[in-house]
Amino acid sequence: MNVPAAWYLILAAGLFGIGAFGLLTRRSALIMFMCIELMLNAVNLTFVTFSRTLNDISGQAIVFFVMVVAAAEVTVGLGIVVSVFRRRSSTSVDELSEMKG
């Protein structure tokens, strides 16, 4: 018998929390993207756990789509990081403050 779904859900909540903490505290845009990947993976793990528990394939299908969107997001995001780095020679998000009111 497999371990209960609650264990995986707690694990996913912990992973999401770690990713959110990193996103809020780190200042390098690259590390922030990695933290977003951590949060997306936590949600994927939750979807697969619910899919197993509810005996329904839809959770796994949604994880498939989340992975596609994550790949597209990273591609565009890293393009933006490269573009910003060309102008400022830095990936720190604290230095992008021209639009401060």
């Binding site: 992973l15 770690i18 959110a20 690259l30 394939i57 994880v63 790949a71 591609t75 565009v76 890293l78």
Partner: protein
């Protein structure tokens, strides 16, 4: 919950412990190491742990995609950008530009995660109708056939939309990362 460990088979508990260790150690590494290259390698560890958790819950296809797409493509893209920009210098991680930022972030995350777990623990962890669309295959079997059927019938429109999304992402990335050429090149031609 601790006492109920012995109810479940030891192999499943061992697999869960392994995946949990990989996931949490990698995640803490991502947010705590100074060098971005090390952070990317820690991210690979977390992604492997999630793939182990997928296999343990009979999502074989997603585990393979997890390794190929995430560890094989996305992390390589991260490493490529890190090397390309030369930002593998160490970040001053103890410097805190906003006073109290860490504390506020920790409190907010703790409230969110704690509230989430408390909410789930007070009610049923999983509730709702079972097998609304398609059932999973029998225990132990992979779900590739069911997943393919679901993606190409129920979610066909979303699948086609992801194709358009990927094309848009590729065009956008090329446009953003393109080096701007000086305009006087056309005059001399």
């Amino acid at each position: 919950m601790i006492a109920s460990v012995f109810v479940y088979s030891n192999a499943n508990v061992l697999v869960f412990a392994t995946s949990a260790l990989l996931i949490l150690a990698g995640a803490i590494g991502v947010i705590s190491v100074k060098n971005p290259v090390h952070a990317a390698l820690c991210l690979i560890m977390t992604l492997f742990g999630v793939a182990v958790a997928f296999v343990a819950q009979s999502a074989d296809f997603l585990a393979a995609v997890q390794i190929i797409v995430y560890a094989g493509a996305i992390v390589v893209l991260f490493l490529f950008v890190i090397m390309f920009l030369g930002v593998d210098r160490r970040e001053h991680i103890h410097f805190e530009p906003l006073v109290g930022q860490r504390a506020f972030a920790a409190v907010g995350v703790a409230i969110t995660v704690g509230g989430l777990i408390a909410l789930m623990a007070r009610s049923h962890w999983v509730s709702g109708a079972t097998s609304v669309t398609t059932k999973l295959s029998k225990v132990g079997g992979g779900n590739v056939k069911e997943l393919g059927t679901a993606v190409f019938t129920t979610y066909l429109f979303a699948f086609e939309a992801t194709a358009a999304l990927l094309i848009i992402a590729v065009v956008g990335a090329v446009l953003l990362a393109r080096r701007e050429r000086p305009t006087h090149g056309e005059e001399s031609a």
